[in-house]
């Protein structure tokens, strides 16, 4: 009984330890996830601001935060050993999303609703169906 308990514990620990090392694919997926998450956070903040569901200060602060997080992810990217093609793709994608968040933040601060409507409509929507299926919510 005790041996089986010890073996179960050992198996759990080993499987957790195995999660520790990140492959190149994992690293790339992680950067993609961060970028998409902050891109969609910016879009959500902008859309909710347009619906008057969030205060101006909150929307502006969140958009600024998105920009800062994207910049820090971009900096983290430079310290990682990734294939140069992937590195270039990730940097380019991050800078586009960051520029969009900065522009959205400026438009919110200036209370330029037309600009915010245009930018929210231009920024890509997340694929809700696929995300819901992936998380087994649908």
């Amino acid at each position: 009984m005790l041996t089986r308990w010890r073996m179960s514990c050992a198996a759990l620990i080993l499987s957790l330890l195995a999660c520790g090392g990140k492959s190149v694919a994992d690293q790339i997926a992680e950067h993609d996830r961060v970028r998409v998450s902050w891109e969609q956070t910016s879009r959500f903040a902008g859309a909710e601001w347009l619906d008057l569901a969030v205060p101006d200060a909150y929307a502006a602060r969140t958009l600024q935060r998105a920009s800062e997080e994207l910049r820090s992810d971009s900096e983290a990217l430079t310290r990682e050993q990734l294939p140069s093609r992937e590195l270039a793709r990730l940097h380019a994608a991050l800078s586009i999303v960051r520029a969009r968040a900065d522009a959205l933040a400026r438009a919110v601060r200036a209370r330029d609703r037309d600009a915010v409507i245009r930018m929210v409509n231009e920024s890509p929507r997340a694929n809700a169906d696929s995300l819901l299926r992936q998380a087994a919510l649908r």
């Binding site: 514990c9 759990l12 620990i13 957790l16 330890l17 999660c19 520790g20 990140k22 996830r33 961060v34 998409v36 998450s37 902050w38 969609q40 956070t41 879009r43 959500f44 903040a45 909710e48 619906d51 008057l52 569901a53 969030v54 205060p55 200060a57 909150y58 602060r61 969140t62 935060r65 997080e69 997340a126 694929n127 809700a128 995300l131 819901l132 992936q134 998380a135 087994a136 919510l137 649908r138």
Partner: protein, 404 residues
């Protein structure tokens, strides 16, 4: 009739006082990253908490002693110092995360940056502890805390697929990001099985002068109160899953959680979220500061009661003052509240054996609990869940630190 009223009030205060920054943040993060897949961690944590809270009330009712005092008497000073130091330091850290949650709620409403609110929040909590009585603090904070029921309303308005949600109550392996999955699972369990709650509950039972006739009332109150409280955490996870997953948003910062109710309740949702977060965190701050003071004062055999004037229980008052100052200092530095919350909850899981194992020994000692000792079911369930939380914490915390 009086007992029924007592039970109702006990359940209502348990529900109102259940959610705090840890359970809110970990549930929201779990829902956003893994859908319903981590519901099992809330279920396990809540089951364990039901047993532990019932035990701490039973110990106080039968032995007329609070948990800390009984531990010191049973194990002596040298051993008691270990849980005393560990739980006090953890208390300051958890208090800092609650203060961070309160400050963020105020930032959401006012737009003024959160570190500015940390000293004011700590001062307000200190003033209430200094001037208030136990009953006012316990019942007042919990009744205001009923605002957190807004998450249950949101769940019903979102019409989740209940079958899929129920499937999440069974433990399963992660489909992606395994390291993050286990770390959040550990944090959820740490947020649910908060040891400070046990010191607070048992001291409260002594303050309210419970005796053996209160054992059945305690059983019903603890079970239903914590059960409904756990349902609140589940509601947060479900709302986060249905709002954030389809948008592809992962919760990395607290700011991202704030609009979780706006798709359902528009602008009201934003302010209701801020109010729920602020009130829940403020209530938890009061409970944690008092719990640390109870732990230290009962452990050293000092005079303790929240109902006396501070000058009559000077050392007890000094401890909660110092705890609040410690939490405020961490808050002023401006450490990211979500990071400190997740880490303090995971550390709670890692330290659970220090708090829970001596407690279980007490609950099986006839000298303290007479014929009201634990049965094998409660011993087994608590041991298994605490062991699981400990193993997961010891492995996932270093991995998470390395990963970040």
């Amino acid at each position: 009739m009086k007992k029924l009223l007592e039970i109702t009030l006990g359940i209502v205060t348990s529900i109102g006082g259940f959610l705090e920054v840890g359970s809110l943040a970990t549930s929201a993060q779990a829902g956003a990253a893994f859908g319903y897949q981590l519901l099992w961690a809330i279920v396990l944590g809540t089951v364990c908490l039901i047993f532990l809270v019932e035990m701490s009330g039973r110990l106080a009712a039968v032995s007329k002693q609070p948990l800390a005092g009984a531990m010191r008497e049973r194990f002596g000073y040298p051993f008691f110092l270990i849980p005393l130091v560990a739980m006090s330091l953890l208390g300051v850290l958890v208090l800092a995360s609650e203060l961070g949650g309160l400050s963020l709620a105020l930032q959401l409403v006012t737009g003024i940056s959160f570190p500015w609110w940390a000293p004011l929040g700590a001062f307000a909590a200190w003033l209430l502890l200094w001037k208030g009585t136990f009953s006012v603090i316990e019942k007042g904070a919990s009744l205001f805390g009923l605002i957190t029921l807004v998450f249950v309303v949101a769940v019903f308005r979102l019409h989740p697929d209940w079958t899929r949600a129920a499937a999440g109550a069974l433990p399963s392996m992660p489909r992606h990001e395994p390291m993050r999955y286990w770390f959040i699972a550990v944090s959820i369990m740490g947020a649910s099985i908060a040891p400070y709650l046990l010191y607070f509950y048992s001291a409260g039972a002594v303050e309210d002068k419970w005796n053996e006739t209160d054992v059945p009332v305690n059983r019903v109150t603890a079970t239903l109160g914590m059960l409904f409280g756990g349902a609140l955490s589940i509601a947060v996870l479900v709302v986060a899953a249905l709002v954030f997953v389809p948008r592809g948003i992962r919760i990395e910062r607290f700011d991202q959680i704030a609009p979780m109710l706006t798709p359902i309740m528009s602008r009201w949702g934003f302010f209701l979220f801020a109010a729920a977060l602020g009130i829940a965190c403020f209530g938890a701050m009061l409970e944690i500061a008092l719990s640390v003071a109870y732990l230290v004062a009962q452990g050293f055999g000092w005079k303790w009661t929240e109902d006396a004037r501070p000058r009559d229980v000077a050392r007890f008052s000094l401890v909660y003052t110092a705890t609040l100052i410690g939490g405020a200092l961490i808050g002023i530095v401006g450490v990211d509240p979500l990071a400190i919350t997740l880490m303090s909850m995971a550390l709670t899981s890692a330290l659970l054996p220090i708090a829970i194992v001596p407690f279980l020994i007490l609950m099986n000692d006839p000298h303290f609990v007479g014929k009201h000792g634990n049965g094998w079911i409660s011993n087994t369930v608590v041991c298994a869940i605490v062991a699981l939380a400990f193993v997961l914490a010891v492995v996932s915390i270093p991995l998470e630190l390395m990963g970040s």
